[in-house]
């Protein structure tokens, strides 16, 4: 079989010992069934030696997966085993008509070759799974052409094609599910690590950072401590990545604040009214960009190092505002540049509005409103 799948699992994390174990259990059960069926249907076996060799080869591969050291991703043995498994699986599928006469109760390989497809899909993603499935489909077609006499009626063509489709679909489904599980596992692991940091460490670290900010006369050190505190809070707030791709608003606010604190040395207070929604990518981008722009403007023009980011969401709309008590300006006198222009553009792209309230001496509030119902 020269058409071994080419995508490799090198970039993947550990594919989850749970998934490997599941495929291994499936493979073992499938092999047992293959053996039982072959023995029971001995009467229709035309070539007993080939049948025995096939069962033995499948059994050897099955047993090899139980050996220690093959399940780790990137283990050299794993690749060979995957390739061998697919080769043996394809051979069983192709050799079906040669080993059995026409009275066979099931195809020779039974469901065992599917294990190779699943292992590929779990290890290297759905594309590799589909490819492995198609390899088996091709093997079936070759086997039919070579060993089974008779007309190529439409039903027979369909049956042969079905094999490829079924194996391919199984590969796709397994790969897709494995990807999902892997994401969930990763998020769960991060969340566990975060909980541990939160429980064991963060109180002490935050105390220290707070003391540094208040007792050090060194401005750079104070800024650094402030920035580190913001980063830690952002980390503790939870992951930006969720399985659905939505961004939790509180996490977004913290990352925007952490960014402004690190870049400008601002002191940013987050006043968020719970409960806060999750935002889809476009809205999250608009809010993030809008807040970032506002905070940059506070740092550059307001003459203060303090800003409050406020957020409140109802079922239909989200209100976010950035307020400073700096110098302020007369909005009617200032041309629509910088502050309103770029914020407005981002916000309007998701159907929202921007209002700038300011007057000399009382500071500035930029309010962003974004509709939340599905567009």
């Amino acid at each position: 079989m020269g058409t071994a799948p080419t995508t490799e699992a090198a970039a993947h994390d550990d594919p989850g010992s749970g998934l490997d174990a599941a495929v291994r259990a499936f493979r073992t059960a499938a092999w047992s069934w293959l053996t039982v069926v072959t023995v029971l249907s001995y009467a229709s076996v035309e070539r007993p030696l080939a049948a025995a060799l096939g069962v033995l080869a499948a059994g050897t591969v099955t047993a090899a997966w139980w050996a220690p050291g093959v399940t780790g991703a990137g283990a050299a043995g794993r690749r060979w085993l995957l390739a061998t498994e697919l080769l043996v699986g394809a051979t069983l599928v192709a050799g079906d008509g040669w080993v059995f006469d026409d009275g066979r109760p099931q195809s020779f390989g039974g469901v065992w070759p599917l294990a190779g497809v699943l292992a590929r899909a779990v290890g290297a993603g759905w594309r590799a799974g589909v490819l492995a499935g198609l390899v088996l489909g091709l093997a079936r077609a070759i086997g039919e052409a070579a060993f089974v006499r008779g007309e190529w009626a439409a039903t027979r063509v369909l049956a042969v094609a079905s094999t490829g489709v079924l194996f391919g679909l199984a590969g796709w489904a397994a790969g897709w599910a494995a990807e999902r599980i892997r994401i969930a596992e990763r998020l769960a692991a991060r969340s566990a690590a975060r909980a541990e940091v939160a429980a064991e460490l963060h109180d002490g670290v935050l105390q220290t950072l707070a003391v540094v900010q208040r007792r050090s006369g060194d401005d750079d050190l104070v800024r650094l401590a402030r920035s580190q505190e913001a980063e830690l809070r952002h980390y503790l707030a939870g992951p930006e990545e969720t399985p659905t791709g939505d961004v939790p608003l509180d996490v977004l606010l913290r990352s925007s604040a952490a960014d402004a604190i690190a870049r400008f040395g601002l002191r940013v207070e987050i006043a968020a009214v719970p409960p806060l929604p999750h935002l889809d990518r476009e809205r999250a981008g608009a809010v993030r960009g809008g807040i970032g722009e506002c905070l940059a403007n506070v740092a550059k023009h307001a003459g203060t190092d303090r800003a409050v980011v406020f957020a409140e969401a109802g079922p239909q709309r989200l209100v976010v505002s950035v307020t400073d008590e700096g110098t302020g300006f007369d909005p009617s006198a200032v041309v629509e540049r910088g502050i309103a222009g770029s914020v407005r553009r981002r916000v309007e792209s998701v159907g929202g509005t921007t209002v700038v309230g300011s007057s000399p001496g009382t500071g500035t509030t930029v309010t962003i409103e974004i509709p939340l119902e599905a567009r």
């Binding site: 707070a210 003391v211 207070e269 409050v308 307020t323 009382t362």
Partner: protein, 211 residues
Amino acid sequence: MSSRIKVLVADDHAVWRSGMRAELGEAFWVVGEAEDAPTAIELARTLEPDVVAADLRMPDGGGLRVAAELSDRFPVVILTVSEAHDDLLAAIGAGAVGYLVKSSTVAEIGAGLAAASRGEPVFSASLAALVLGDFTRVATTPDGRPVKALSPREREVLRLVARGSTYRAVGKELFIAERTVENHVRNILEKLRLNRRDELIRWAAKRGLDE
């Protein structure tokens, strides 16, 4: 001497307690230090401070217990690095007059403690936001008991404070005196406390724990 504000500092971090003593300056007098809630409660009763500055997280009950035991007699300000909103709101609900984030400047902490010693609420934007959220949560409690809701004006005040306005700016915006804004804030805190107490009673009743 007598014009200095007497502060009791309750914090399990020694570096923080000594920092407060060193930094608060001439206007304050740190009359005592405690490293857990029971000590703080005991010390407050003998030292009679003007204000108690208690860390949210301490052994044996933390700021929540300090507020619950002492807020009848002394203004309690929660000092915290924590973002644990539930604990914070519980402490406010138990009678604390507000909270200060530990990374605030010395001037801000000083101003907050001074305000608290005069019985004024110490209300940051983030606390206003949390309180606003808490009223929404309580109002939607499904068992139908009436709750102390915010008046439209109180809600307006709270939202402006949450957006980062000072009492003065809020007053200007709403055409009311700064003093009136402060009264609104005090009433809001009182309602929060009553709601929290009600909630506790209902919670206890549901489990058959009340007398």
